[in-house]
Symmetry: C3
Subunit: 281 residues, 3 copies
């Protein structure tokens, strides 16, 4: 694996307290001068699924060797394990609570963060981001290999899968969350576009029943059905929508999104996380 | 132009979603180890003018060679162009939608971001910050020159000018926006102070009618008239104001600001963006 | 002192305005390529005590040679002094208004920031973070020593001490503030744990009457008494608390905190800063 001394951070620590700065101080003390990139620190407190999805969205755009330090850790101080994982080109560090559901697969290797030599002295019970995870990321950046941290883990904890059910000519999914602009990300993906009107879908997590190959969908014949019967059509970009009109478009992560034009689709439609939606095609 | 490998970022992407982190990942993949400085990511969604003013406020304080990656892009996916501009000591990258109104002049050079070689493969229709602008900034930092990105642009889009009307012994302007502390920035500037009581004004954008030279103004004889008839006097610093008193002072960008002492002038006066104000002198 | 080119920033400038980005531009112009770590910029406007405590919480985790650029400066433009201080392994830069109360002691050395050579030309009256403090931090990182900035200061301004009163078998303290998760930090500390049930306290600031040596406290016999008579018991970590139950635990800074399990203790108890609490042991 080519090496790039970069640590990318995702936490629910917010930006008002010194938690993130302290983690960076710890990193800099162990491994000075690394490139540190904040993905976000505003994961809603304890929202492991949100962080897990964000990690999946972010990782393809980071250089090989990037270390993702991910700390959303409501179980801190309990017996939940800390882990370091190597998968494809990237390294992941954080609590074993489902955060890595969408980025680790059967080809990944994971180890428990057990070796006290690579932790701060006397770790407390409330801030493993500082005492265990930041040091692990910093030592990894210095070249410490996974197996030096502790024993292999083969049974990492995985989150329940988002809703995704394929039937003839339709896929049912769910709304995951809204972004800053009020776009509603859905579980329907991952789509790639073959041309402006034709798309292929390959699920971004293991689904049951398995799809036999990719499914090809023509935008012209596709629409989204909301749970209350409303129908949205699939457009190319925001500007194709009239004022206060909502539509679906292929979001930047390859997931279908419900969007409006310079307006919040979440507000216009009063939809929220978990509601079912159906793609007809 | 001396070269400094620094990219400064201004966006309306907020800090809750992975957008900014992903842009930085893209930059680091192309051009690792650059200094990345966040100016802000909390531009109100789609507020091009706010970002344009902030860029003007920030640029004098950045080293020669700094690249300003500015993405407030409500027209993403439409035919609006992407551009890279070289002006004085700085480089600007972003959509051609008025963002660069206050930093580019007739001596600047601009090129359209057209060359697919310096974009991510298969750019989408919703996130050119990731697919086009971040790569352009990163390749520029590696030494790719403006003309390699695409054809010259001579007709960049410019925003309407803020209100600024000179009459004998008065200038009428407008309130631009409030900052975190509740100070109200106005279009009246750019002032420099000759001494504690004497100031010169030279407009910070092209105004009609043109001023013939700089205008000298004595603080002792100057006051601000609000639209409803209230009058504010010009003070030296915040501490010169009594509790709940508002006054005008020379803000850090050379614009007159309406301020209070450890209080929000915006709240005390109930003023908001666009309202007219008159400097009498 | 070993040298590490790192500047850590604490301000009340928020994240919506260009203030912090401009300070970093100034730093980069003087001293390019430094590692810059944001601790927070969301100190409530003018809340010097909050910043002073955060500085105390953060500093042990930063490498020797770190420069803390701390700007919460409601008195900007008045005669309050700017200072640079060297203490133990760290350097502090900011206004002399109490910010450094908890990190400087009689062994520290301080100098006034007076030398115009290490400031921006023509400092204004409203943004010394940009004109004076950021340059001082950047020049220090280049090796300029404290005494080159100006005369020695021996009488730095100190904040009033938080409440802390020892009586037989109890210590009375106060609530300092709540963090993002709704944990309420108290002035009761600094505790270190000898084992899971036994703790020692050594005050983190000068208290009257002085403690004669450290006090040893057994968790099993300790409880917190709120001003209204409610009693909280001391637990090991968040997960030991039932739904909606609040307890005390040893926070990550060594201060006792009032916490809940995946819930906000501040909301559950309706307590706020300044309220007294008593540790019985």
């Amino acid at each position: 694996m080519p090496f790039s001394p970069l640590i990318a951070l995702i936490t629910d620590f917010g930006e008002n307290d010194p938690f993130v700065g302290i983690m960076k101080g710890v990193i800099s003390k162990i491994s000075p001068g690394l490139e540190l990139i904040d993905i976000t620190h505003n994961i809603p407190p304890g929202d492991i699924q949100r962080a897990a999805i964000m990690l999946w969205q972010s990782k393809p755009y980071f250089p090989p060797g990037s270390i993702f330090l991910t700390v959303v850790d409501p179980g801190v101080g309990t017996s939940r394990r800390g882990l370091i994982a190597f998968s494809d080109d990237h390294i992941y560090v954080g609590p074993d609570n489902g955060l890595f559901t969408f980025v680790l697969d059967t080809s990944s290797e994971q180890w428990e963060l057990e070796n006290r030599e690579y932790q701060l002295p006397h770790p407390g019970t409330t801030f493993h981001g500082r005492d265990i995870f930041a040091p692990a990321a910093a030592y990894t950046a210095k070249g410490i290999f996974g197996s030096e941290f502790g024993p292999v883990i083969t049974d990492i904890l995985r989150l329940p899968k988002p809703h995704f059910r394929l039937s003839p000519h339709q896929i049912q999914g769910e709304i995951l969350y809204k972004d800053r602009f009020g776009n509603l990300l859905t579980s329907l993906g991952k789509f790639t576009s073959l041309d402006q009107m034709t798309f292929e879908i390959e699920p971004w997590f293991d689904v049951e029943p398995k799809l036999s190959g990719k499914i090809r969908i023509s935008r012209a014949q596709a629409s989204i059905l909301l749970a209350d019967g409303r129908i949205l059509s699939w457009v190319d970009t925001f500007a194709d929508l009239q004022d206060d009109e909502c539509g679906i478009l292929l979001g930047s992560s390859g997931l279908l999104e419900i969007s409006a034009n310079q307006n919040s689709a979440a507000d216009l439609l009063s939809l929220s996380s978990g509601e079912h939606i159906t793609l007809k095609f």
